[in-house]
């Protein structure tokens, strides 16, 4: 594989400045600078704060990635960058940086879709992606079910959240329970000691009439309101909030719907593999329940390690390397940022 092209990928769609280096499907470096601490006191990502942090972190993160990979920038054969979807101002920093690199190095540049990159990253860890596969992507910014027949060219949306993203729901419930931002890891930790059946919170879009129109879509805002209502009632009654039970019951409601719909999508679309990505893939209960349900349905589950599930540059480089390997044409130097880039556009022309 030493002859496979060396690809550097840049990711800046939210609050992580990620620069990854891959050779073919081998991961050489995955440098990430996060501005998450700067957003913590706001309880959510502040776009301008994230954009400023991307600017400051960009060159040091590129240099760190090259140092870790043991390569010089002049060794790079191709570049890939997230063009969307994401925060426009944040994406702009990464795209401008990638274009400057393409210009300075005289190498092709691929503007890629962030969601497709979340799928492609697993190739670095678990080898070629069986086609077709179903991918469940859940994070603070997105919650989607995708049908993937070719990660470089044919990714179709099966469903997505119609309101909050799954990770966003974790953040909001964490705040309600007095847990820090970002909420995912804290809810997961606290829920370990709780009873997931303590409170029967609603499962969004799972009723028969919802399934007709929103078979693979998600909704977490009703769940969020139900948890808030339950907590307020308990407070009004002067009861101590059973934080562990509420966290476990909320978490169970989220991962139940995510895994139930993901497995159903695999079965109904004849996909033998389910891939899970995005920050929420780090959730221990999601992994456990997905494993259990995939096993029962005869589906192989693929989940990259947590560092590759959250936003990073390696995923962008991984998709870039696939595009190079499949001979897809690069993007033009006037490549644009598209904050709502549809997942069907894997590569921006």
């Amino acid at each position: 594989m030493t002859d496979a092209p060396l690809v550097l990928g840049i990711e800046s769609s939210c609050d992580e400045t990620g620069v990854g280096v891959v050779r073919g499907s081998t991961l050489l470096a995955d440098a990430v600078a996060s501005s998450v601490d700067e957003h913590a006191r706001f309880g959510g990502v502040i776009p301008e704060v994230a954009s400023r942090a991307h600017l400051e972190a960009m060159v040091p993160t590129i240099e760190r990635a090259c140092a870790t990979a043991g390569v010089r920038l002049t060794d790079v054969d191709a570049l890939a960058v997230t063009s969307g979807p994401g925060l426009a101002g944040a994406l702009t920093v990464g795209v401008a940086a990638a274009k400057a690199l393409a210009l300075a190095l005289g190498v092709p540049l691929y503007g890629v879709n962030h969601l497709a990159a979340h799928v492609a990253v697993d190739i670095l860890e678990h080898g070629p992606l069986p086609e077709p596969s179903v991918a469940l992507l859940a994070s603070g910014g997105h919650s989607s079910l995708l049908f993937v027949t070719d990660v470089t060219a044919d990714v179709r949306p099966l469903g997505q959240t119609i309101d909050d993203a799954a990770g966003e729901a974790f953040d909001k419930i964490a705040r309600l329970l007095g847990l820090p931002f970002p909420g995912g890891p804290h809810v997961d930790r606290v829920a370990v000691d709780g009873d997931p059946a303590a409170v029967a919170f609603p499962r969004g879009l799972t009723a028969r009439h919802d399934l007709e129109r929103h078979r693979y879509d998600f909704s977490f805002s009703g769940l969020k309101t139900a948890v808030a209502r339950w907590v307020e009632r308990a407070e009004a009654d002067g009861r101590t909030i059973p934080v562990a039970d509420v966290a476990a019951s909320f978490q169970e409601a989220v991962v139940d719907v995510l895994t139930r719909k993901a497995v159903a999508a695999c079965v109904e679309h004849g996909a033998g593999h389910l891939l899970i990505g995005g920050g929420v893939a780090a959730n221990s209960r999601l992994r456990a329940l997905a494993e259990q349900r995939c096993l029962a349905a005869g589906i192989r589950l693929r989940v990259p390690r947590p560092g590759l599930c959250t936003d990073n540059g390696a995923m962008v480089a991984a998709l870039g390397a696939q595009l190079v390997a499949r001979g897809r044409p690069p993007s033009a130097l006037d490549l644009v940022v598209d904050s709502s880039l549809p997942v069907t556009t894997v590569r921006v022309g």
Binding site: T92, A96, K99, A104, L333, V336
Partner: protein, 225 residues
């Protein structure tokens, strides 16, 4: 010396090459919303126009604003990454100084640009004699047009065209030219070590002049009424 200058602090995306003697290529495209799209092609175009190769670049000069944030960052990140990849130094210049460079005549004058939200970025300059470089004496600041201390001084730049009642009549030039930034930086780099430099080059840190809009969340909103 082959100096590449660029600026995205205003509505114009501009790039220029300077060979130490004069500006040898310059491009400008005005489209306030498309900085990230237009800058790299503009740089490629000036290299092409001048028949020079990117590897010949010895210095990079970038207008560091003040200017609307997203556009401003396009120029700054481009300059920093080019500098790192080509292994050449990156110099910052206040973008308003670039506009002042193009103002003719002597005496006191102001430069004002659009800061959006009904405010302007501005700085005050003085030029001693024709041909001498202007000297920035106050600023840059961000203010409401009515609060700029014009005091009878002529005002140049896009800000004056937007708020003629407070700042007008507007004098040319309206926008910064990368060629002006290049000339200013070339002069400053040539003079360093010998004579006092008329304009101080700065780091490539953007001049935001405003803090990010961000408010910590207040008390939890109740859902029960």
């Amino acid at each position: 010396m082959l100096l590449l200058a660029l600026d995205t602090s205003g509505a114009t995306v501009t790039a220029a090459l300077h060979d130490g003697t004069s500006v040898i290529a310059e491009r400008a495209v005005t489209n306030a919303r498309r900085h990230a799209e237009l800058l790299a092609p503009a740089i490629a175009a000036v290299l092409d126009d001048a028949g020079r190769d990117r590897t010949e670049i010895t210095d990079i000069v970038v207008g560091v604003g003040p200017g609307p944030f997203t556009g401003l960052r396009v120029g700054v990140v481009t300059a920093r990454v080019l500098g790192a990849a080509l292994g050449v130094p990156v110099h910052g210049v206040c973008s308003l100084d670039g506009i002042a460079e193009d103002v003719s005549g002597t005496g006191d004058f102001l430069v004002a640009t659009d800061a959006r939200r009904r405010e302007v970025y501005w700085a005050a300059y003085h030029r001693d004699a024709d041909g001498a470089p202007p000297e920035r004496r106050d600023g840059p600041h961000v203010s409401r047009p009515a609060e700029v201390p014009v005091a009878g001084r002529p005002v140049t730049g896009r800000g004056a065209t937007l708020y003629p009642d407070d700042l007008g009549p507007a004098g040319e030039p309206f926008d910064v030219r990368a060629g002006a930034l290049a000339a200013l930086a070339a002069r400053s780099l040539a003079g360093s070590g010998t004579a006092p430099t008329p304009v101080t080059l700065c780091s490539s840190e953007p001049m935001y002049l405003r803090r990010p809009d961000a408010t910590p969340p207040g008390a939890r909103k109740r859902v029960l009424t």
